[in-house]
């Protein structure tokens, strides 16, 4: 199948097989109850199970079962429409379930079933249905021989007023005809009401078009397939008309403006595209002030450019001017970053309605507490934050918060509480979603992750690491825990969005007491304060805000634990340490001679990095490695230094994660010159 790589397709096919087995189990159980009682619910479930298998079989290339599944579906459709199932029908359906299961098991084993018995089952099903087969695919349209020299088609197309209410657009139809070579030869505006009476959601124009005679009639019919009944349509062979008719393509190209205005609602969607931003006047004023300062600095430096000797006094003034310029530049940069910022409350605003609706539907009482809504965040980051928050909150209500009675029984208040909180923390914005529900079912998550092959059976994970598995793509696509206790669909969406923003997602859960999901996002995507460091002959940048302190290594405070972890005691705190040179694959572990230890903090935990030298502190502009090269473990990006050299920016969180697992990342890269 084109469009997807083979591995992805195979993985999806495997998922489909698993779903199908589950569906067949449910179908079998349902069929066994049909003898005693026929409920809409059971029949609906049965129908969907078989229907999904039929639909998926075609898509996943399991063609040998589509015929059988189709016949079974037709029978079940009758039952769904009120036909009483007979014992013979049930028996035949059960045989069908068996055959489908056999065929799918063959596929799982990498073989293709012969399907020899399918015809017999189909015959039994058809017989049980007691009538000639219904619902078979419609006969293909009678092909019309292409007539190269035939007279052109005349298409008279008059949309009924309601055509656009189904999301159809007459322009789309005209465009499609244009792609067949069609041209508009007349527009009938006679039905247009007076402007005051015009309802922008209604369609009042009618068109006459000409389509080349060589085009097959079926192709024209297909263009109008979706609006059959929503328009009057006459397609006839016609004599050619004047050749100076305007090209349809040109009309279609010009027309969207007009339709947008008429259709109203869709137009406003386009208008709200990402390109613009509303900015408070105070922010603009602030920026104006900065520019005023800059002008003063510039004139001050300009005065130095006169005649006369370059003496000490002049040099001192030059130095002063330059440092003032540096301050101005910095302040302006901050102002511009603020221009791009918007309060998180903009996104929080969507949440109360969501909580109300979802809570009411599920019969749960949920109180929502919002705090930190004024925290400002880069607009780009903010726009990507909406979906993840919706997913997290929805999952909290759906799977976290218990029903009122269950909560009362557990000694909790009847209403659950969801807290959304945002705050600046260092160079990050931290957004927390906490609920006081039942927490995650960690043993089950672990079991499923092992089953899915996401982790090995003997992988040691902390509770937090286990909880985090719910974000793994393979995990949620399989929807393995959502129906029981966990969080399923959509959590990989959260992960993907936050990762795209260079952020981190963490989840903490206490059984019976609730779940906390923590999103950490960078304040701005472009510029950070960096500390330049040297490791061997390479320069790296460490984000300044993650650095706590630097200390000279005192060998008496250093120790090695079983398992090869090095630790260092700073005052009363034990800090794991990593030789950055080894972590980056520049030298073997254990040979570092430097006595300089840089203590950094990530996720509230310290980590010591052995570096060879601390160089300057400076602001660096982050250049993405992913978009220019590819993701590299342990590196957050790259930057260009003042002398034109490229330095990599270390991903402290990533390094810390490797260090805590006792695994040193191995980055195979060369520093570019």
């Amino acid at each position: 199948m084109s469009g997807l790589d083979a591995a992805t397709f195979a993985a999806l096919q495997a998922t489909f097989l698993e779903e199908s087995f589950e569906g067949l189990d449910r179908a079998e159980a349902g069929l066994l109850t049909l003898d005693t009682a026929v409920t809409d619910e059971v029949v609906g479930e049965l129908f969907r199970a078989i229907h999904s298998i039929k639909g998926g079989a075609g898509a996943f290339g399991i063609d040998e079962i589509t015929g059988l599944a189709h016949t079974m579906e037709s029978v079940l459709d009758d039952v769904r429409s009120g036909a009483a199932p007979t014992p013979a029908m049930t028996a035949a359906l059960l045989r069908g379930v068996d055959e489908l299961r056999l065929a799918l098991e063959e596929r799982r084993a990498g073989r293709v079933a012969s399907g020899a018995a399918h015809a017999g089952v189909c015959a039994a099903l058809t017989a049980a249905r007691g009538a000639a087969p219904r619902g078979v695919a419609p006969a293909p349209p009678v092909p019309v021989a292409p007539a190269v020299n035939a007279a052109p088609w005349r298409v008279e197309f008059a949309p009924l007023p309601h055509l656009m209410r189904n999301g159809n657009d007459p322009l789309r139809l005209l465009r499609e005809l244009a792609s067949l070579g069609g041209t508009v030869i007349a527009v009938d505006t006679s039905r247009l009401p007076r402007f005051e009476d015009l309802d922008p959601t209604e369609c009042h124009l009618a068109w006459t078009l000409e389509v080349p005679g060589a085009v097959e009639r079926a192709a024209i019919d297909e263009v109008f397939a979706w609006v059959d009944g929503d328009c009057t349509l006459a397609i006839t062979r016609a004599a050619p008309v004047a050749a100076d008719a305007p090209a349809l393509a040109a009309i279609a190209a010009d027309a969207p403006m007009a339709t947008s205005e008429r259709a109203g609602a869709p137009a406003s969607r386009e208008a709200s595209a990402i390109g613009s931003i509303r900015v408070g006047v105070d922010k603009i004023d602030q920026l104006m002030n900065m520019i005023g300062e800059l002008v003063i600095t510039q004139s001050m430096l300009g005065e130095l450019d006169g005649e006369g000797p370059v003496d000490a006094e002049r040099l001192a003034r030059l130095r002063e001017g330059l440092s003032q310029l540096a301050r101005n530049t910095r302040a302006m940069q901050e102002s511009v970053v603020r221009l791009r910022s918007m309060p998180v409350g903009v996104v929080f605003g969507r949440i109360p309605r969501l909580v109300h609706d979802v809570g009411a539907r599920l019969g749960k009482e949920v109180a929502l507490e919002l705090s930190g809504g004024t925290t400002e965040l880069d607009k780009t980051v903010l726009e990507k934050l909406g979906d993840p928050l919706v997913h997290i909150v929805r999952n909290s209500i759906d799977h976290g918060i218990e029903l009122p009675d269950a909560r009362a029984a557990a000694g909790k208040p009847r209403h659950g509480t969801i807290r959304l909180h945002a705050e600046h923390r260092g160079s990050e914005i931290v957004i927390e979603v906490a609920d006081d529900g039942r927490g995650l079912d960690l043993p089950r998550i672990r079991a499923k992750a092992v089953e899915r092959g996401l982790i090995g059976a003997d992988t040691a994970l902390t509770d937090d690491e286990t909880a985090k598995l719910i974000f793994a793509p393979g995990f949620s696509t399989a929807e393995v825990v959502s129906d029981v206790s966990g969080r399923g669909v959509g959590m990989d969406v959260v992960w993907r969005h936050i990762k795209e923003l260079g952020g981190q997602v963490d989840v903490q859960s206490s059984p019976g007491a609730g779940t906390r999901t923590i999103l950490r996002l960078p304040l701005t995507l472009a510029i950070i304060d960096g500390q330049l460091i040297r490791v061997l002959e390479h320069q790296y940048v460490v984000p300044l805000l993650s650095i706590v302190e630097s200390v000279q290594i005192d060998p008496r405070r250093r120790a090695r634990l079983a398992g090869g972890h090095d630790i260092y005691r700073v005052r009363e705190q034990i800090v794991p340490i990593v030789d950055l040179g080894a972590a980056l694959g520049l030298r073997p572990p254990g040979v570092a001679t430097s006595s300089l230890l840089m203590i950094v903090e990530t996720d509230g935990a310290p980590l010591g990095l052995i570096v060879d030298e601390l160089l300057a502190q400076q602001q660096v502009v982050i250049k993405s490695l992913e978009s220019n090269y590819q993701r590299v473990d342990g590196l957050a990006g790259a930057t260009i230094l003042g002398d034109g050299r490229v330095a990599f920016i270390l991903d402290i969180v990533d390094l810390a994660r490797h260090a805590r697992r006792g695994r040193v990342g191995h980055a195979d890269h060369e520093q570019a010159a």
Binding site: M1, S2, G3, L4, T8, L12, Q13, T15, F16, E19, G44, E45, F47, R48, H51, S52, K54, G55, G56, A57, G58, A59, F60, H70, E73, G135, A137, P138, M164, R165, N166, G167, N168, D169, R172, R175, E176, A225, W226, G229, A263, A265, P266, R269, S272, R350, L354, D357, R361, G386, D387, V390, R394, T477, A478, E479, G488, V489, G490, V493
Partner: protein, 120 residues
């Protein structure tokens, strides 16, 4: 690039469609049932819905009817994913507000060609 919501209770089918659309550069929101789709509509701008017909709880037709009552999705194209072309069923789907339909199974190219028609 458009933002497309795929509503299908079959994880594999949904993932197959979503991957195909993402591969073509679209942004895809996935919903495993109709209610989830409705929850998301108020919070996200959607350019096109692809809806399965047979789903538990809120089925595809009910979903389309509800979508047509909500301001953000009143005029948004909605394509139904069906496994057969039955004129009666199509009449019902259109009465509910569906824009058009696609017959499953479809090849990725067919899917992309069809949605291109609706999106431009």
């Amino acid at each position: 690039m458009s933002r497309i919501m795929v509503v299908d209770d079959s994880n594999s089918m949904r993932a197959l469609i979503a991957q195909t659309l993402r591969g073509a550069g679209h942004e895809v929101t996935e919903a495993a049932d109709g209610q989830f789709a409705l929850d998301l509509v108020g919070t996200t701008k959607i350019d096109l819905f692809l809806c399965d017909v047979n789903m538990p709880r809120i089925d595809g037709l009910t979903l389309v009817k509800r979508l047509r009552t909500l301001a953000p999705s009143k005029f948004t194209p909605i394509l139904m994913l069906t496994t057969e072309v039955d004129p009666e069923k199509i009449k019902v789907a259109k009465a509910a507000g569906a824009t058009g339909w696609m017959v499953k199974p479809f090849q990725p190219d067919q899917l992309l060609a069809t949605i291109r028609k609706v999106l431009t």
